[in-house]
Amino acid sequence: MMEWLSDYGAFLTSRQEDILIALRDHIYISAISIILGAIVAIPVGIWLAGSRIGWLNSTVFTVANVLQTIPSLALLAILIPLLGIGRTPAVFALFLYSIMPIMRNTYSGFKAVDPNVMEAARGMGYSRLQRLLRIQLPLSFPYIMSGLRVTTVYIISWATLATLIGAGGLGQLIFSGLGVNKKELIVTGAILAVILALAADFLLGLAERWVTAKTRSTPASGTV
């Protein structure tokens, strides 16, 4: 056991550079996908929650649901003829996967705001934008954050597949390990992916608590 650990230590030192590059690429791919997902899905979720067009809501959710169910390998394969190989198709695929949970949570969060609260806000003279920024967003913030956290965790895990279309990342360590039958590579890639997911979730949790505490203890920001 001790022997194996020291061998493993030696292996880590020797491959340090590769490992760090893989980690960096992995963080990069995941982060870009989630940020893009949030930029698209949060406003769409907000808009759908406010819209009264029933068929549109169901259409959007159906499309997002279908995207969600396409097997990831298949989606990557489909994207090769469209976007080629490399990071772009990988980020695009992960972005598609991130839309649904973020949108769904944003939508639920906005729907969960007490209609009485909204009526009171309207009746007291909040403009539409003020209602959005001072009432709806703060109240649905926990929902949106939980959507982001769930998405982040599994996007980080799925990003290991990105290496299949040449996007690099921790998946590359795992697949090379498979290729040359080197367990250390596989273990390193997997453990780093797990640690990365947990760390991201933890940091987002901290951010959520920080923002909640801030909006609760100081007056809401000035007039918009």
Partner: protein, 409 residues
């Protein structure tokens, strides 16, 4: 102050929520809009702060056509309280109260002072409540905050949409009293929507009675009670408000008795009796047999006396009733009995079985329910009572006596 001119509201589906409303709401008055649900009272009120806009017609506040005012600006100048309170759960009480001043960008210190002043006005200690969150307050306290939130920016007009109807009866009474007090202090123009006639009579300067999108009658509570415009008004006001015979000799004991007196079986022991009295907070028990036949009563003093002997049963210590009244007897008879003999209550029997209990409490409750529309002075009431007394027999009534209800009613 607020004037509706030929206001009509038709929804997209063709439903006519308001049919040509012409109405003037007077400055400094508390006007109650009342009617059955779906009559348009809420819809009408929401036209004042442009939460609803009329299909046709005009609304003026101080002779200014409100369709020319930006709705957001208009709403900030009008207080608004809704039924389900609608406090902002993520803001503390101080921030909730200061919502409109903050929207109007008042100076922070002026706002804070105003918040404290308003909290004190509804008897909530600012130091205690300022930093609490709505979820930490009771329903009554939350609606107090709802009301002072509407007052925060000193609006001339305040709209209240069934503000107290979700509250328990005690909080509702308190808040009604506080609203009347605030109104007397602040002299605001208040428009209050309710479906509760008792509430309207209690708080209104003017009542506007509505039905099917139309105003049926407008007037002071006094005027509407005395001169209901039609059948609908009469039925809406409710029978109890219209009963002219406040001390109707035809009133029978069955109307006023409490039907669930605390009874016990004669087989019970003393400890059980004490526990029973404690639980129901009474000082005596009516003893009835298996078929609810009236056997007698025990008082707490008898029970305590009998407590020493473990095998004492209620049957051993109970006393028979000297005075009972038959179901269908006049209330005057029961009252006279209670008065003459200093009885706290008189049992009502039907075929020898206990039907109920006339107590002082039950009589007072019944009287309180009857509105006295003739505004009789105390002297007149006393004379009326005297007359009743003369009519009522003075001798103790036995269980089988008293066939005179035919004559009395």
């Amino acid at each position: 102050m607020i004037r509706f001119e030929n206001v009509r509201k038709t929804y997209d589906d063709g439903f006519e929520a308001l049919k040509t409303i012409n109405l003037e709401i007077k400055e400094g008055e508390l006007t109650v809009l009342i009617g059955p649900s779906g009559c348009g009272k809420s819809t009408l009120m929401k036209h004042i702060n442009r939460l609803n806009n009329p299909t046709s017609g005009k609304i003026y506040i101080r002779d200014k056509d409100i369709s020319s005012i930006d709705p957001v600006e208009l709403r900030r100048s009008i207080g608004y309280v809704i039924q389900n309170v609608g406090l902002f759960p993520h803001m503390n009480i101080a921030k909730n109260v200061a919502v409109v001043p903050r929207l109007l960008k008042w100076d922070k210190e002026v706002t804070a002072g105003k918040v404290d002043e308003l909290l004190s006005m509804v008897n909530l200690d600012p130091d205690v409540y300022r930093n609490r969150y709505p979820a930490e307050l009771s329903g009554g306290q939350q609606q107090r905050i709802g009301v002072i939130r509407a007052l925060a920016a000193d609006p001339d007009v305040i709209l209240l949409d069934e503000p107290f109807s979700a509250l328990d009866p005690i909080s509702r009474e308190q808040l009604q009293d506080e609203l009347i007090r605030l109104q007397q202090e602040l002299k605001k123009t208040i428009v209050f929507v309710t479906h509760d006639m008792d509430e309207a009579i209690k708080i209104a300067d003017t009542i506007v009675l509505m039905k099917d999108g139309q105003v049926v009658q407008t007037g002071s509570p006094e005027h509407i009670l005395r001169h209901p415009a039609n059948e609908f008004v009469t039925s809406f006001i409710g029978k109890k408000h219209l009963t002219t015979d406040t001390l109707d000799p035809g009133l029978i004991v069955d109307d006023v008795m409490s039907v669930n007196p605390v009874t016990a079986s004669p087989e019970r022991g003393m400890a059980a009796a004490i526990q029973f009295m404690e639980r129901h907070r009474v000082d005596s028990l009516i003893i009835v047999g298996k078929k609810r036949e009236l056997l007698g009563y025990v008082s707490i003093f008898n029970v305590l006396k009998g407590y020493r002997h473990e095998d004492t049963r209620l049957a051993d210590i109970m006393k028979p009733f000297v005075h009972v009244v038959e179901s269908g007897s006049s209330v005057a008879l029961a009252l006279t009995l209670m008065n003459e003999h200093g009885l706290p209550y008189v049992p009502v029997v039907r075929d020898g079985q206990l039907a109920g209990l006339v107590t002082r409490g039950s009589v007072v409750r019944h009287m309180a329910e009857i509105y006295n529309p003739d505004d009789m002075s105390l002297e007149e009431l006393a004379a009326e009572a005297e007359k009743l007394k003369e009519e009522a027999p003075l001798e103790p009534a036995e269980a089988d006596q008293d066939e005179e209800r035919g004559e009395r009613s």
